[in-house]
């Protein structure tokens, strides 16, 4: 049965989405979506276990062998990302019920869950496929459903945020499509492995160079790499809280995965890093982004927005790791991709809980919550420590490898800026802590209670994971290192 797992991974949410629509109003849609997410997580876990035990899995759709047919090819890297998406999907879905009931009108909830599942389908599909065009298709599935999800936010500005995301996302997808089209023109194939084999022969042509430029810009838009991040803060701020939690922890990470995959397994490090020297552009954008966006996060008055800016900064860390193109750098980037997903998911779930109880994600809404919602805020503090990179949390592990890689390659400026941004992270996390613990609640506001258990448990699981993986790094770093070695060695 494990042989069929790759396609089952995609089928579960794909079939779940229309079924959710069919169930109509009522809570059935939620339980169905939850069941699908949990099943999806189970499959992802088995896939990762199998890949780590026996090596890559290949699955041919429709029985057509690659390069004619579409194949799903699962190695250490994408099984790791699959697990991240499925895990966050499941945890967010566990927490979703109450939050969705308070934020989404009753006649739209089943559509909401269908869109969530479709988004998950898209993200999982991007990750799992071994076909460049198929990446684009799933990219569009994920993107279209996330536009819908963001537009469901209850403020009117959600529509504008969604519209802007739609324009930017479409430009990004189109650029990627143009790039894939140019590659197809030069090589006549869409299969990634086949592309990698044929590209070196035509690597010096303008067509390939232009395709590379289009790809890099398109994917930078998708993953909100500074300075193409401007769609992200609004999208995360005005989306329903649950959607913010899911997208912030997975969507941009999957885009980063696409970049890693194209850079290392299609264009190849020799072309991308040695011939073009993309490190310089990526590295400098990442560094500027890390510092400016961390600083921008400090001055935000809405916690969702604050976290959104911090996300852009954290994307910078991942990209910085990739730009080193060394084993440690790539390991750091990949492990941070996973770790940051955990941390941001947890933090946004905390915000979702606050929005559920207090009705706002404004900093002022956090006043006095340290007393009113002690467990929730404690989880926020723990998650925040991870963002800072305090030892014994996952954030430290990622930064450790990034700094190690930066020192190895002699990028002293990068070392200094990464350390500086840790200080900035202290400040922006502190701002929330200060409001929650050191500012009294307004007297005339209604008393609030602890977040419901259904939201606390998944948040606590994620926070616990950030600490467990911060102490026992064997597993996460092991997988990330395997992926890094695979990427560097496979096609170098």
């Amino acid at each position: 049965m494990i042989a069929e797992h790759p396609v089952i991974q995609i089928l579960i949410p794909l079939l779940g989405a229309p079924l959710c629509v069919l169930t109509g109003r009522g809570v059935l849609a939620y339980w169905l979506a939850l069941a699908c997410s949990l099943a999806s997580l189970f499959v992802a876990t088995r896939l990762l276990a199998t890949v780590m035990a026996t090596g890559p899995i290949v699955y041919e759709l429709g029985g057509w062998a690659a390069p004619w047919g579409i194949e799903y090819r699962i190695g250490p890297l994408n099984s790791f990302v699959l697990l991240l998406v499925a895990l966050l999907g499941a945890m967010v879905m566990l927490a979703a019920k109450k939050s969705v009931e308070s934020e989404i009108p009753g006649d739209r909830r089943h559509f909401f869950y269908a869109a969530m599942l479709l988004c998950q389908t898209g993200l999982l599909g991007i990750t799992i496929t071994g076909d460049a065009f198929n990446v684009f298709v799933f990219l569009e599935i994920a993107a279209l459903s996330s536009y819908v999800l963001i537009a469901m936010g209850h403020q009117r500005r959600a529509l504008y945020a969604s519209y802007q995301y739609l324009i930017m996302g479409t430009i990004g997808s189109t650029f990627i499509l143009i790039s894939i089209g140019l590659l197809y023109q030069m090589t006549g194939t869409l299969n990634m492995a086949d592309l990698a084999a044929r590209l070196p022969a035509v690597g010096d042509t303008r067509t390939v160079l232009v395709s590379f430029a289009f790809f890099m810009v398109g994917v930078s838009l998708k993953m909100a790499l500074f300075p193409l991040h401007m769609w992200l803060p609004n999208a995360y701020t005005y989306a329903p809280s649950i959607v913010s939690a899911f997208l912030a922890s997975t969507a941009t990470k999957v885009a980063v995965y696409v970049m890693i995959r194209f850079l290392f397994s299609i264009y190849g490090p020799a072309f991308a890093f040695d011939r073009i020297g993309v490190s310089q552009i990526l590295g400098s954008l990442a560094l500027v982004g890390i510092v400016i966006m961390s600083a921008a996060a400090i001055f935000q008055n809405n916690v969702k927005r604050l976290l959104a800016y911090s996300s852009v900064a954290q994307i910078g860390y991942i990209v910085l790791g990739i730009s080193f193109a060394s084993e440690n750098g790539l390991t750091g980037g990949i492990v941070h991709l996973f770790n940051h997903g955990l941390m941001k998911g947890a933090l946004f779930l905390v915000v979702a809980a606050v929005v559920y109880r207090v009705g706002s994600s404004d900093l002022n809404a956090f006043r006095g919550l340290g007393r009113a919602m002690p467990v929730t805020m404690f989880l926020f503090v723990l998650g925040g420590l991870g963002m800072i990179g305090v030892p014994l949390t996952v954030g430290f592990i990622s930064k450790w490898y990034l700094i190690l890689a930066a020192i190895e390659t002699g990028h002293w400026l990068a070392v200094a800026l990464v350390l500086l941004s840790s200080l900035l992270a202290v400040i922006y996390v502190w701002r929330v802590v200060e409001f929650a613990y050191f500012q009294p609640r307004d007297r005339d506001s209604d008393p609030v209670g602890e977040a419901p258990l259904s939201m606390l448990v998944p948040t606590a699981i994620l926070v616990l994971a950030t600490i467990v993986f911060g102490i026992n790094t064997e597993w996460t770093v092991g997988v990330a290192r395997a992926a890094a070695v695979f990427l560097l060695g496979g096609h170098a």
Partner: protein
Amino acid sequence: MSNLHPALVFFAGALLVAMLRGRAQALVALLVPIVSAWSAFQLTAGTEITLSIFDYELMPFRVDRLSLLFNYLFHIAAFLALLFAWEAGDRLQRVSGLLYAGSALLAVFAGDLITLFVAWELLAVTSVFLIWARGTERANRSGMRYLIVQILSGVILLAGAILHLRETGSLAFNEIGIATLGGKLILLALGIKAAFPFLHSWLVDAYPEATPVGTVFLSSFTTKVAVYALARGFAGEPILVIVGGAMAAFPIFFAVIENDLRRVLGYSMINQIGFMVVGVGIGTDLALNGAVAHAFNDVLFKGVLMMSMGAVLYRVGHVNGSDLGGLYKSMPFTTVFCCVGAASISAFPLFSGFVSKSMVVAAVLHEHHIVVWMILLFASAGVFHHAGIKIPFFAFFSHDSGLRVKEAPKSMLFAMGIGAVLCIGIGCFPQFLYARLPWPVDYVPYTGTHVLTQMQILFFSALAFTWLKLTHLYPPELRAVHLDIDWLYRRALPATARGVAMVAERVRLFGAGLALSFVSGLQQAGRHHLGPDGIFGRTWATGSIAVWVAILLVIYLIFEYGA
């Protein structure tokens, strides 16, 4: 024989204390150091536990004579602080105090730089709550500054450790030296925690803002861990002799004019650390023994002094020298204990400071560092002046301020009393301390010459104080703030930033063209451009994002063709 890491006992104890309330909480908190001591005092030098992580061999637990000495010290200090906290403490302070003491133990048993770094950051994160527990706006801000500086020290230590690893291939925490860049960075990190000159302002900024209990904890651990680390990593670095001399001398000037008596103690703490740093810098067995022995004694007598000031703060609500006086009438026991602490820090014969400080001074004399020796003599006189006389005089004697308060709670008196007894005990029977010093001891503190010269210095200092006081040459205590190096980042930097912004605004009004664009560039870097209305914070028009897309595409294309 035991292999249990005492830090674990403290961490577990903190967890337990966090769940209890009332008297049970205070009692369990008090039991933690006792329980831990029961196993920790059985540790024997040579125990090592290694661990493989990150592809490196780490040694989170290494016991030798140096770490054992600090192990004993920290257990005693934690016990005294928690006893002191019996009445005045709360859950937050007990838990963070226990975690803080545990982190200090983690640090002294760290056999590698990574464990040291972890402990280093834990020390910062756990202790800041002792400042914040005060609950005032000033304490909040001061705590934040403290945290930033401490975390900064941590990241510098980490950077240094990584460099050290690259340069020497080892993460072991032994002799490091300042030959390499990594070593220099590590020294800088230790220097921040040890309050080297110009890096010291966090100490005098934060310690007086903490709670009465908090300052007792704070004064016991952070700087002593730093001294420990210096003794282990940088013994015999000549630069430390100079740094230590400066440390011993400059704070006493500030201490003389400072009004907040706990801040006075903060300055005198830097002064005492100066002696230890000189000892480490000399690096002979005698000097190193003197340094660590003095660290040991400093925790005790500084603890007694901080506790007595804490008791005053607890009863009176402030410790401003200008508004105190005559308290000996209502707090007689506190007065006595404070005087014992003052005598110890001033190194009166038969008090603990005498038996350890003199080791450092003697070592300096042996090595013929005449200038440093004179500075240390000056510092000895000075410390008697500001800590030995000024603290008890202005708090308990001086003119009667009319304050009539209750004597300190019994638990506080017990804590101070035990500390005072230990001070006198070590002063009278130094062999108990000497037997536990890490290096072989061949030193006799009580010689005629030594006792006589010390008495001469001290009594003539007192004579000077009396004379100055009677002739009204002595500066009165004033309710005022005195600038220190933290002025640079608390006022000068913001003011400069404001000045730049203001000048920029002027130029913007007058100028055009190049000046304009330059200034607007400056302004963009300014604060409100990052906020919700700023260039990086506000919502961008969709079109302008698209322009960026185009720009980036062009950059990529140019870059590729250039390559």
